[in-house]
Amino acid sequence: MARILSILVGLFFTVALAWSLGLGFYTWATEPAQPTAEHEFHEHPKHVSFASDGPFGTFDKQQLQRGFQVYQQVCAACHALKHVAFRDLEKIGYNEPEVKAIAAQFQIPKYDEMTGMVETVEGTPTDYFPPVMYAGQGSPPDLSLITKARHDGGPYVYSLLTGYQDQPAELLEHFPDAKTPDGLYYNPYFPNLNLAMPAPLMEDMVTYSDGTPATVDQMAKDVSAFLIWTAEPTMDKRKQTGWPILGFLLFATILGYMSYRNIWANKKH
């Protein structure tokens, strides 16, 4: 009885699935899915390596400072960095007076309890990067976590910044409807191929204080490295902590294995 009931319930689900499968197969065979421009032309991030890659990776502070310069002089016009405090910049090698000076370049909105008004005051090291007022098209995301919020984040940001190009003729030929609309810019590294941000970097846009030539490629790499850091300022500490812990565990496990062998030595199992 239980067996018959079980088989009936089994048939209920399997027949329903076979029904879904059959109709699905019919649709798939008779109306194959149309290829889309995104599907055909979207590209995975370029291969690019950073000092922070891999289990031994650490941050290249010189590069992070260059990246910060790019962020401050270019990206900060539109993108906020709300999870980062100015004091955090000490971790990438700026000293206290430098951090104070950087903070003072930013205007921080502060709520005044006495007057009930919001006033802007000069930033101090304990302040966070302030919100950015942006009036243009689209809504530029906060960049603090951008490299964690995208697959393959560092290379993705680098590829996006260096990936602007004219729409391929082939694309327009096969997908005339997918022509980049006015006010958007074609970039095959962006998921739907067209984004509201114009190519932000141009040669020699910033003058690096360490004298590195400011090519687009260099700036893109540096700012991506900086954004890897903003997404996880503790990454180097994490990796450095991991090794001694793994070493200890390996040692303890070997000891554990030896005592296991010892205790079971005369017990066949």
Binding site: R3, G10, L21, G256
Partner: protein, 427 residues
């Protein structure tokens, strides 16, 4: 119960003697995980996973409590409090990654633990209750993990909560009111976040309670073993301490190495990048996917794409998704074979290795993939086998199968001969 040859607890220190007469906790521990608990000598490494599951549970509770000290269940700030924990709290990043990856480790361990049960027939008499409590634990774990994932209030948190609570709306008549009641609103918002936090903090302790019952129930007949032959005499068993303490001990080491490698070197590998984007009810992610450990059941949910007679496709999917786990409750009665271990069940063993295991692998894969062809069709085939396996194949196979001869006893299986075996353990 324990076997008659199990050692008795004899307190040696006067304080322990005093204690034993008043509150015999040391005796309890001795009989549960000490020298007084006799365990089959032939357990393989699959029997280490119960212990590891217990370890994961403790790990989750400890790291979770620390994180809760810095978290605020308010949609305005929840995301930021987590970032604050990770960036500014001493070792906060470690707690966060340990907790997030701890959930994954817990599910890896528990899936092995459950499939050990499928293969070695651990759910059969006299251990049905151990199994049933286990399935209850698994359901509680899924609820806990789901609600935990909502707490950081990222994009996947929000949309996951929306999709999963939306499933309840498929229930006829009461569906929509039920969904609103569960959420405390029309969509996930502050009310939902607060109750999810409350329950996410509560349920692990409920799990602790059920685990205690699970182990209590297990210790009545004692552990089964890879032959599935019950213990017959003293030479079949060894005391838990020191034998299995040593074995579990070094297994913990291996587990900890793999787990720490994830936590320290790939802590975001199993997570979804979208959950680093703060929740935005106005922007739907391209693909809404739950965490990897839900993928098989998510694949089953999405496999039902057509209405079936008068039952809407969505309701079929919901029934099947819950049904896929609920069938496990009936397993001890669906599988009529008196033989526990698949090693002696040639036919069932084939269905296990060539049916159930590849099916689960496919469901895992498809549940994480986009809901596009050919993945939908592939998951339909896999889901079809899944239900057929438990509800049709298993009852029939267990009735017609001719098992291989069993060893007379555990000792015989290990040593090739067993001289002092008794036929029945004298109770």
């Amino acid at each position: 119960m324990s076997f008659p040859w199990a050692k008795q607890y004899t307190p040696s220190h006067p304080f322990m003697k005093w204690m034993d007469e008043r509150l015999p906790v040391p005796r309890l521990v001795y009989n549960a995980v000490g020298g007084g608990y006799e365990v089959p000598r032939n357990l393989n490494y699959f029997w280490n996973f119960g212990f590891l599951a217990g370890l994961c549970l403790v790990l989750q509770i400890v790291t979770g409590i620390v994180m809760a000290m810095h978290y605020a269940a308010n949609t305005e700030v929840a995301f930021d409090t987590i970032e604050h924990t990770v960036r500014d709290v001493n070792w906060g990043w470690l707690m966060r990654y340990a907790h997030a990856n701890g959930a994954s480790a817990f599910f890896v361990v528990i899936y092995v633990h459950i499939f050990r049960g499928f293969y070695f027939g651990s759910y059969k008499a006299p251990r049905e209750m151990v199994w049933l409590l286990g399935v209850v634990i698994f359901l509680l774990m899924m609820a806990t993990a789901f609600m935990g994932y909502v707490l950081p209030w990222g994009q996947m948190s929000f949309w996951g909560a929306k999709v999963i609570t939306g499933l309840f709306s498929a229930i006829p008549l009461v569906g929509e009111p039920l969904q609103q009641w569960l959420l405390g609103g029309f969509a996930p918002d502050n009310a939902a976040l607060n109750r999810f936090f409350s329950l996410h903090y509560l349920l692990p302790f409920v799990i602790v309670g059920v685990v205690i019952l699970h182990i209590w129930a297990l210790h009545i007949p004692g552990s089964s073993n890879p032959t599935g032959v019950e213990v017959k005499s003293e030479s079949d068993t060894v005391p838990f301490y020191p034998y299995y303490v040593a074995k579990d001990g070094w297994a913990i080491g291996v587990f900890a190495i793999l787990y720490c490698a994830m936590v320290f070197f790939a802590p975001n590998y199993l997570g979804h990048p979208d959950n680093y984007i703060p929740a935005n009810p106005m922007s739907t992610p391209a693909h809404i996917v739950p965490e990897w450990y839900f993928w098989p059941f998510y694949a089953i949910l999405r496999a039902f794409t057509q209405d079936f007679f008068f039952i809407p496709a969505k309701l079929m999917g919901v029934l099947a998704m819950f049904g896929a786990i609920l069938v496990w409750f009936f397993l001890p009665w669906l599988d009529k074979s008196p033989i526990r271990s698949s090693s002696y069940r040639p036919l069932y063993k084939k269905f296990f290795w060539f049916g159930l295991i590849p099916t689960m692998a496919v469901l895992f894969y498809c549940g994480g993939a986009a809901a596009e062809e050919p993945y939908v069709m592939i998951s339909q085939i896999a889901a079809l086998y899944y239900f057929a396996h438990f509800l049709i194949i298993l009852p029939i196979v267990s009735a017609i199968e001719k098992p291989k001869p069993l060893p007379f006893s555990i000792t015989e299986a290990v040593l090739g001969k067993d001289e002092d075996a008794k036929l029945e353990p004298s109770a």
